[in-house]
């Protein structure tokens, strides 16, 4: 009944039988226990479940597992290299760019995707690029400052 699906998850191969209606979000959170990917709305409105698919930000709640077959999926757990944070993660820490932290994984991955497309993103680019990610605590100002600080860093 299920279809054999293979993809790469945080750098490691995953192979599994997947039903057509199996959402990537609940697969990650349930089967893989990668719970850094958050449920916020289930309909693509809030961005809390954002993951990277082939480096590009996507809403896990809108994807089924079959749709990521043979692709590279990165969740928040796969972003740092060991203890070494990704520059965007580091910038969030340094700017206190979070409060409750629930939207944070999705924000960070959306920002990583944004910066990979536009490494020198301006403030307006960042605001536009993150506009579909919701934060209820109101950390917007600090999130923009954090992402902007990464954009401004000299690239090695």
């Amino acid at each position: 009944m299920g279809k054999l699906v293979q993809f790469t998850l945080n750098g490691k191969p995953v192979q599994m039988e997947s039903d057509a209606d199996q959402s990537l979000l609940w697969f990650l959170r349930g089967d893989m226990q990668l719970t850094g990917t958050k449920y916020g709305c289930g309909a693509g409105f809030c961005g809390a479940c954002t993951v990277l698919v082939n480096g590009s930000a996507q809403r896990a709640c809108l994807l089924d597992v079959q749709s990521v077959a043979n692709k590279q999926v990165t969740t928040i757990e796969g972003l740092a290299e060991g203890e070494k944070l990704h520059p965007v993660q580091q910038a969030f820490v340094e700017h206190d760019a979070l409060q409750c932290g629930y939207c944070t994984p999705g924000m960070i991955l959306s920002a990583v995707s944004l910066l990979s497309d536009n490494p020198q993103a301006s403030e307006a680019d960042i605001i536009g690029g993150l506009d579909d990610n919701l934060c209820r605590c109101g950390a917007h100002k600090r999130i923009v400052e954090a992402v902007r600080s990464v954009a401004l860093k000299p690239k090695s």
């Binding site: 309909a43 809030c46 928040i76 409060q99 939207c103 944070t104 109101g138 999130i143």
Partner: protein, 712 residues
């Protein structure tokens, strides 16, 4: 309100065991301490009935490894006390903040606490925590004095090491002192805490200590916890509040392998090990409801509420209104209205319950772990030590996670199924079962004397509550009357549940008062800042007003000046706050753009300036929502906005430039920080809109439609 006898009853009936606590803590030096009851409006309606109460509310331990642990029923939901409470202890104990661990919101390990709300942690819990720290330091100094044979007066402490001031090589660490000790000391009178010049840690900015966990996805929220054999529950949600279930066909759902359907009174759930199967099963339930007829909608709710308004209760007053009317050459009368607003935390309500060996353990996203525990003890008829509530990180609360019904749902389902059960509300559940900030009405009549001074102030608030209704101006004849009990009202008033929403009532009251004051200023032909300063003698208010004016670069002009600038001020959680805003209004579309908000607050002692600033910014950002876009739509008990595509939260693209100013206060006491800066947002934008286009908006939110109607 908690009555003394109620507290006593709770205490005797639950026989909270201090000894078992101490046993679980292990060795070291332990100080037990209590927080004084503080019956503010913020606490009134939160249920902690039957919860265990004891003579102490928290404790701290200096362990045999020299590490300090603070055990408290308070919880971390983004407000940042996980960072600021250790700062307090670090100063009182002379240890590094890194040496302090926090154990929060676990009812087995932490003593009773009323809950985390009302901006009470820093101002009420904080001083007690500091005193306990000071007492622990005193005990440790006593031990050190014996050990080193040096009089206490001659001892100093640095980084958890006690040493002889005149011979620093004579020293002993806290860890060495507590080794083999098991000292439990109850806090007696107030221990001598340090004074401001001695602070090394408080008053300095510290980054969030939970940041690393939260940016790596490691931080554990309730729904992130998995137990072996866990079932995931999806709940059947009625089509409307007040709807009665007529018929239910569960056969299709039950036919799915592994699905369990539970019907327990009003609680109907489908459960499965896999979320997507539970989702599918829920969609196969065939439910038929009787929905009561109701003509109440967001369009006519205010008239409906006025028809049900209870008698008023005076909350403030002075002079004689009739005399004030005689002195007035102009009487100004307006009605201000506010909408139902959702809490909408990004993390929906979540709970995981495990019924095992006669004990119910529940992890819950809650602002009141002991409140939930109390509910479970009485509902399940269990002994006090047979219910444990644990609180992982909470993904936003804002007052909406005080009553924790999801914890009760999970516990019931776990007991019925005999399996661990996760209840994780969908966004639609969250909007449906939210306890909304109530729609409300404020009616103000006021008068101006011949020389443009306020002559009288007659203020009535309906359904918002009295919080924030006090006026701070020098008005000789005034009266403030509240026609309600705050955020709850008699059945039949609100079409669905209402509850405490960040600074409950204050945003609605400040919207009315500060706009009305502005209208008086305009009538008097005065600059609105000048009008406020010349009619207010409270130095905290004049201080924040002058500070915000300086930061904003305010230049006086009588409104409307066409510049689109506005001012508002108020008090919440004992913190005085003033805001200024600059707006642009597109007359053809009615769209308001808030370009800049500057906010100054006098919160007394500031423990963590970075944290306090974050809270101010968050208040301003969140306040943009109730001011401009947020209002739940409904038809009777049917909730129409169930997700974020129609319920509009503030976005990055509509955030103003935010600047914050913390006053270097003359007041040494700490006051609230989580709520105050949100209260001015409706008023300051409304006043700026008036300054821009010369029209008043008397109803929140200030949507383009309302702007266009006001301009027409």
């Amino acid at each position: 309100m908690y009555k003394d006898d109620k507290e006593k009853k709770m205490k005797s009936s639950t026989a909270f065991s201090r000894r078992s606590f101490l046993k679980s803590v292990g060795g070291g030096v332990v100080v037990l301490f209590t927080t004084p009851p503080r019956f503010s409006l913020a606490e009134e309606s939160h249920s902690v009935s039957a919860a265990a109460a004891d003579s102490f509310n928290a404790y701290l331990r200096i362990g045999e490894d020299g590490r300090v642990t603070c055990f408290t029923g308070k919880i971390e939901m983004g407000q940042g006390i996980i960072t600021s409470l250790p700062q307090m202890l670090a100063d009182e104990l002379d240890v590094a903040v890194e040496m302090i661990d926090m154990v929060m919101g676990d009812t087995d390990r932490c003593p009773f606490d009323r809950g985390t709300w009302g901006s009470l942690t820093t101002r009420v819990f904080g001083p007690e925590l500091r005193a306990a720290g000071a007492q622990a330091r005193g005990i440790l100094l006593g031990l050190a004095s014996t050990k080193l044979s040096v009089p206490i007066e001659q001892l100093e402490v640095r980084d958890g090491v006690v040493f002889d001031r005149s011979n620093p090589s004579s020293q002993v660490s806290y860890g060495a002192l507590t080794k083999g000790q098991a000292i439990a000391s109850e806090m007696k009178s107030q221990a001598q805490v340090k004074s401001a010049p001695e602070y090394k840690v408080m008053g300095k900015s510290f980054r969030r200590r939970d940041a690393f966990e939260k940016v790596t996805g490691v931080a554990e929220f309730t729904a992130d916890i998995h137990l072996p054999g866990m079932l995931i529950a999806r709940l059947l949600r009625p089509t409307a509040h007040g709807a009665k279930l007529k018929a239910l066909d569960v056969s299709a759902a039950e036919a799915i392998e592994g699905v369990r359907v539970v019907r327990d009174g009003d609680l109907i759930a489908v459960l499965h090990e896999k979320r997507q199967v539970a989702d599918r099963a829920l969609s196969m339930l065939k439910a038929d409801y009787d929905v009561p007829e109701s003509a109440v909608t967001e369009e006519n709710i205010h008239a409906h509420l006025m028809s049900r308004a209870p008698e008023g209760v005076p909350v403030a007053g002075g002079g004689d209104i009739a005399e004030g009317e005689r002195l007035s050459v102009e009487v100004i009368e307006h009605t201000y209205q506010d909408a139902y607003v959702a809490h909408a935390p990004m993390e929906p309500h979540a709970a995981l319950a495990s019924w095992e060996n006669g004990k119910m353990t529940v992890w819950a996203s809650t602002q009141s772990p002991f409140g939930l525990k109390g509910q479970l003890v009485s509902l399940l008829g269990l002994a006090d030590d047979k219910v444990r509530v644990l609180t992982p990180y909470v993904g936003g609360g804002f007052g909406g996670k005080g009553s924790s019904p999801q914890g009760v749902q999970a516990a019931r389902l776990s007991k019925i199924t005999g399996r661990p059960v996760q209840v994780f509300w969908t966004r639609e559940d969250e909007f449906f079962w939210d306890q909304y900030r109530p729609a409300s009405i404020v009616k103000i009549r006021s008068g101006l004397t011949r020389d443009g001074k306020p002559a009288f102030w007659d203020y009535r608030v309906y359904f918002a509550g009295a919080r924030g209704s006090e006026q701070q101006y020098d008005i000789p004849h005034h009266r403030t009357v509240a026609h309600d009990r705050g955020w709850t009202a008699a059945p039949g008033s609100h079409p669905f549940a209402t509850g405490a929403w960040r600074a409950p009532g204050a945003s609605s009251n400040v919207f009315a008062r500060e706009q009305h004051i502005d209208i008086m200023a305009a009538k008097a032909g005065m600059d609105p800042l000048e009008f406020r300063l010349s009619n207010c003698s409270d130095p905290k208010y004049t201080g924040v007003l002058k500070a915000v004016a300086k930061g904003f670069g305010w230049t006086p002009a009588a409104g409307p000046s066409g510049r689109g600038v506005g001012v508002a001020c108020g008090i919440d959680a004992d913190t005085v706050v003033a805001s200024m805003a600059e707006v642009e209004v597109d007359r053809s579309s009615g769209q308001i753009t808030v370009k800049r908000v500057v906010c100054a607050q006098d919160m007394g002692q500031v423990v963590n300036p970075a944290g306090a600033t974050s809270q101010m910014e968050g208040c301003i950002a969140m306040g943009m929502g109730y001011a401009l876009t947020e209002a739940q739509r409904f038809r009777g008990g049917e909730i129409l906005d169930l997700n974020f595509h129609t319920y509009e939260l503030p976005l990055f693209s509509n955030q103003p430039k935010i600047e914050t100013i913390l006053i270097d206060s003359a007041d040494p006491a700490p006051h609230g920080g989580g709520e105050p800066a949100i209260i001015n947002m409706g008023a300051v934008i409304a006043n700026a809109v008036y300054d821009a286009i010369g029209v008043r908006l008397f109803e929140l939110p200030m949507t383009p439609k309302r702007v266009k109607a006001a301009l027409a």
